[in-house]
Structures are given as C-alpha cells and as structure tokens.
Symmetry: none
Subunit: 412 residues, 2 copies
C-alpha cells in the first residue's frame, strides 16, 4: 500500500517555511509498513490542488493533505478535495456549535468566517480537533482514503495519532515493526558514525538512521518482521554491540531526552538541583522545567547576566571577577557554590561563557563555555569551545551542563 502526502499553503513556497508535517507522517506511515511514494507542497490554488489530489488518489491508496483548513478565503483544501472527489460540501451546524463553544471557553467571540470550518465533504467522517479550531476529515472510497488534517504540527500530530492511526491500522495488512531509539551525548555525528557503522552496515533490516541536532545524536533502528518477538530479537542483536561501543556516552535507550533522563536520576536519588546561568540566560532552567513533574527535583536558580548580579545574587567575590574575568573556571565554580548555598539544593550547576557574536577578550573567545557542578563532595568544572553561532553555543552549553550532572550522579 502506497501513500502520498500533500502539504497545502503558499507560505511553504516562499520564504523559509518548511513542511515538517510530512516528516512526521512519513515516519508513522513507514511504521505501519506503508511506503510514501511522493510528497508535494502546493500553493493556495484550488484548481491545481484539486488536480493533484485527483491524480494522487488515482495512483495511491492513501492520500494525506495537511493545511488549508483554516477559516480564511485562502484556505482551499476542503473545496479542492470535494472537487477532486466530485462530492458536495455540506454545512454541519453541530461543528459550528462546537467551534462556538470552544471560543466561549477562551472567552472570545467566534468570528463569522470561522463558520467556513463547519463544512464537511459529503460522506466524510469528522475528525474533531481538541487543539485548534480546524476539524479534520477522513474520506473513504472503495478501500482507499483521503485525509484532511490541520497544518499546525501540534494539531496534526495529535489528530493523526489518535484518530487516523487506529483507522489506518484496520486498512493496512499487518506487519510487526519495532523501533529503538538510542540517544548519545557529547559526540560529533561523524565520530559516532565511524564508531558504530561497522555494526549496523551489516544489516539491511533493521534500518538504521543517525540523526544529529543540537549536539544530541539519536540512533534510530527500525526492524520489520512477521512477529514482534522476531523484530525485538533482531533489534537486540544490532543494538547490543553498538551499546558496548558507546559506553557511558549512551544516555537513553527509549528516546527520552536528556533533561528527562537526568530528572529521573534525581528523582530516584531524592536529590534536588539549582542553576546559575550567565550566557545561557535561563535556557538551562528552561530545559529542566520542560519535563513535566520537574518540581519534584528542580528548585530554581539565578540568571546572572551581569557581573553585578553575580556578586549580588550569588555572592561571587568582586575581586575574583576582576582577577579571572567572568568567563573562567574560577567564576563558574564560585557561581555553582553560590547557587547551592543560597538554594540548599543537592546539586548546583553553573554556566558561564561567550555565546557571541562579540568575544569576551583574548582569554575568552566566542564559543568558550565553562560549566561547574557543586555538591556535598566538592566542585568540578568542565571547559569546551564550540565553533558555532550564538544560539547553538547556548544550546550546546546547556546540553553539556545536563550531561555533566548525569555523569556526576551516575558516578556518585
């Protein structure tokens, strides 16, 4: 069974907007054993879109459209698909009423144009959207299907997972597909590939993909077999030797991000953590608190962007700042000690560095980062230089801090 994906919207045909929905959808379809044979981005042109849908549906059993379901004139997906399938659009008062209730909950008046979203293609099943105003539609015809999904990834994802996947699973012949996500910190992508390629290159099944983003690397293994047990055995056969090679650089075997892994370690230890941030400006605290339930272990911290704040809020001695400069091993250490003293946390992490674009002088070029950790047994400082831009230096530094804590807990 083949699938085609059509993203609708002129905004993805100019400027820098990319269609990321198709990546998610492709992954999910592949997991079902469905191959994506074509994906397209089509602007807000009804005739062209209707033609594309018509042709896609003639070739492929599954056609998924994303976007163009909003309330405005240039939201043309409903009309175009109706035209392609030669069906009418029917106004459904109950959809308009549900929309109005949603607006009322948010204490807002529903605009008249939103009623355009209450039109359903004749014979379609409604896919309710609890994350936005645009309902989706599922249109089946002689064992084939066209899906109309909203464009915002957050809405599309939930709708696809909860409402489309179960329906698709009934259409698609069963295969057992099992995946494994290994996550690795503190390695470059090319070094990692050189290390593990001799293992995974021997196998066509599972398919191994290495994805790198923001100094975090994921190794994605996908096995397809007749039974789940066979697929699991195959995954273990390939992942085992890779895990041995990766050692303690491997931090997750289930795809959990680093802040969740570290949070679980802290929770198990009944330990707490606080932060003191200079160049990351709050990003480290933001990462910790991105995990639901982080109040179990994350107390809080200090954003000390200026020298005065390092003195005032963390008690860093001014003469130390004068002697070593704000971006130094000594100051990172003093910041961590200050945060731990003032919050009473088990661990304190401190970050100081130069994110750029301007440098901190000769001793601290752009990309310099010091991360310190303090606990009852003392302090430890690590130092790196990242050759990258402001945003990525900050992200890398945050990742380095989380990984330092992970290793510290593991060793302690």
């Amino acid at each position: 069974m083949d699938a085609e994906i059509i993203a609708v919207g002129s905004e993805m045909l100019s400027g820098g907007r990319v269609d990321t929905n198709s990546l998610f959808l492709t992954g999910e379809l592949n997991n079902l054993g469905v191959e994506v044979v074509t994906k397209c981005v089509i602007g807000d042109d009804r005739e062209r879109l209707a033609d594309a849908v018509h042709r896609a549906f003639a070739r492929s059993a599954i056609v998924i459209l994303s976007g163009g379901l909003g309330p405005t004139e240039d939201d043309i997906t409903r009309e175009a698909v109706a035209q392609a399938l030669d069906r009418r659009l029917v106004y459904r008062a109950e959809i308009a009423e549900a929309l109005a209730r949603r607006f009322a909950q948010a204490r807002r008046q529903m605009a008249e144009v939103n009623k355009r979203q209450a039109f359903l293609i004749e014979g379609a099943a409604l896919l309710p959207n609890d994350r936005g105003t645009a309902p989706g539609q599922w249109v089946e015809e002689s064992g084939r299907v066209v899906m109309l999904l909203p464009g915002p990834p957050y809405e599309l994802k939930a709708m696809f997972e909860r409402q489309c996947l179960p329906r698709l699973a009934r259409m698609v012949p069963h295969q057992a597909i099992r995946t494994l996500f290994l996550r690795v910190a503190g390695m470059a992508e090319s070094d990692l590939d050189q290390l593990v390629a001799p293992v995974y290159k021997k196998y066509e099944n599972p398919v191994t993909t290495i994805l790198a983003a923001n100094s975090d690397i994921q190794i994605h293994l996908r096995a397809r077999c007749a039974t789940e047990a066979q697929a699991d055995a195959l995954l273990a056969e390939v992942a085992g030797p890779m895990e041995l090679l990766l050692g303690d650089r491997l931090y997750s075997r289930n795809g959990d991000p680093l802040e969740v892994v570290v949070g679980d370690l802290l929770r198990k230890q009944r330990a707490t953590v606080s932060v003191a941030e200079s160049c990351t400006g709050g990003m480290l605290g933001e990462r910790f608190t991105a995990a639901a339930g982080s109040s179990d272990y994350f107390l809080g911290g200090f954003i000390t962007y200026t020298n005065a704040m390092k003195v005032e809020l963390l008690g860093v001695p001014p003469e130390m700042l004068a002697e070593f400069g704000a971006v130094s091993r000594e100051i990172a250490e003093a910041m961590a000690l200050g945060a731990r003293r003032r919050t009473g946390s088990t661990y304190a992490l401190a970050v100081t560095g130069v994110a750029g674009p301007d440098s901190g002088g000769e001793s601290a070029p752009v990309g310099t980062a010091y991360v310190a950790i303090a606990d009852a047994s003392g302090t430890q400082v690590v130092h790196r230089r990242f050759l990258s831009d402001r945003t990525r230096v900050r992200v890398f530094t945050t990742q380095m801090a989380l990984d330092l804590l992970r290793r510290r807990i593991k060793v302690g």
Copy 2:
C-alpha cells in the same frame, strides 16, 4: 512566469532527510520574480517521475529537477526527463573523457558505471559540474526550460548561481520585488485576518500571507513592480491602513522578533530589566538573552520554581502564598516587586502559572498564567488562560510577558 521544483530520491521519502535545495531555489526564483507554484519529492521510480515532469512542463515555464544524476541504476532523472519530453538520450564521449580526467586527478580509477553520466538529452546544453561528477543539463523548448541539477546542495548551488541564473535572467522579464514583514502580538490569527482582510483582499499585488506560530503573527507582503520605487509605494499603500487597524498590537515593521524590539526600546531608554520566573522556568530570560547585545539592558533574574524559592530568593511572604496560592495575581505582583528590589532593575517582569499537565487546583486550572510588571510607578498584572499543552502555555506566557513590557515602555 511560474516554476515547479522536483526533488528526486527515495531517501527523502523515509527517515529524516529533508530536501533543502528547494528552499534555496525558491529564494533565488522569487528574487527573479518567478513564483514557485508546486514542489515535489518523488522516489526513484522512472514512470512516476516522467509523468510528473510531463505534467509540470505542461503547466509551468520553468521546471527544475534536483538529484538522480548519479552513476547507479536508481539514478533515473536523465531517462525520466528524456521520456517526458519525448527526446532521445545521446552518449557524448567528451563528457566521459572529462569524467575520466576528473577521476585521474583524484588518482582514482573511473568505474564503468560512471559512463551513464555521459548521456545527454538530445538538444540539451551541458552544465559542467566542477564540484562533483554529475553534470547538469539545460533543456529549452519554445521559451520554456527543464533543468537537471545534481542533488548535493554544494554542487547544485554553484551550478545554479553560475550557469542557470544568467540564462534565466534572459528568459524572465525584469521586475522589482520588495517585501515587508509586519509582526503582531496578542491576537488570534482569525481575529487578525478578519481585521485586516478587507484591506489586503483588494490587492492581488502585493501578495499578502499571514503566518502564525507560538502566539506570534507575521503578515508578509510581497510587491512586484517594474521599479523598486513603485513596489515600495505599493507596499506603503497596503501596509498603511493595516497598520492603523492594528494600532499598538503591531510591534515590528521589519520582521524583528519581540525580544529584539523590546531590547531596542530598553536600550533607547537606558533602562534595565530583570525577571522572576515560576512556570516558565527560565524561558523568559532565555528569550531576552537570545538577542545579541542583551547585556546592555538585561541584568538577570530568578527562577523560583518552588514556593520555598519564592520566599528565599524573592522575599515573597509565606503567609501570602498560603492565602492566595502560588498561581495568583498577588504572588505575581510580589515576585515582580521582589525581583526589582533585589536587582535594582528599572523594570521587573514576573511570571507564575500552571503549564500542566497537572493542574494547580480549582483556582488555577492548566493554562492559567499571571504576568506582573513592576517599575518606579507601581505594578500591573495581566491574567490569561491558554488552552494548550505544557510547552505552548510556557511559550505563550513568555510572549505575553515580553508584550506587557513593550506596552508599558510605550505608554510610560
């Protein structure tokens, strides 16, 4: 004149590989005044690709293919395009010789399969590739063109800029293209559209696109005229009335994000700001410091995730926490006052709320957010409830805090 872009390669239809060439090509084509009306990714299937090329060429004057020009069996672009245009493929010995020389230079033996790269579509102009082995092709037919470009971005970019752009510039009538980016805070997309659609709907030129992400809306206007002056005048004619309607919700006329706009206002005032964050956990500080040069006005702040930290670090009275709960107007205000007192900043912003997934009890359901601002003239608190998930509630709250500061500075 319209263009279509077709990326060839099954690798972009599974796993995380994205077609980035089309972003580059779209930008370059837009600059010439050429609109990209469709872009597609098609797997290594000759019939399907030939069909897509045939149809694209029937609709659009410019068709650009990237990828599938390698030496192996699954490199099918040459054959598919020849089939679509009903032309023969011709073996050109001089291409094979140039390839052989290239291999010799690298002290490598040319494989026999590389000779497949020496086939040219009848009547095509050869586009030499000095960055790789795959030569490109330029096929013109009655004022229309199909381009075959190599897949690696580094090769495609150079070939397009040096060899295709000059040829295209001769085909495409000269136009001036000017763009304007308006950014708006604190409005839902549908409300905004209802407000400004009566203005922009009257114009086909400029083209107006509305993009919404994370409670931030961009209005993108692109005008095409014979001269730049005409395009600018047209933009002003359309943007003027929209700006009047948007009033103080419009925060940027040049595409700058909110943290940069707020930073510039603070810098002009020689004012400083500090933050006190509960549910956003550092995200507000992170946004402020995402702007280069933010040390001019951002002092730092407090991440007070627990009640104890609100008491310890910000001096919030414990009896107040007991009376009103951490997520309340009163506590937001006390946090802002505490941050301002302890940092000496001109403005202090405080955030407390319930990001979820667990609620803060009856008085504070998931999505509740209080943002307070304190300055010399007193305090102000705003309250909203966002119907969304943890990440987005945090992002929305951060945006609301930045916008509150922007308005406060504007009014003061």
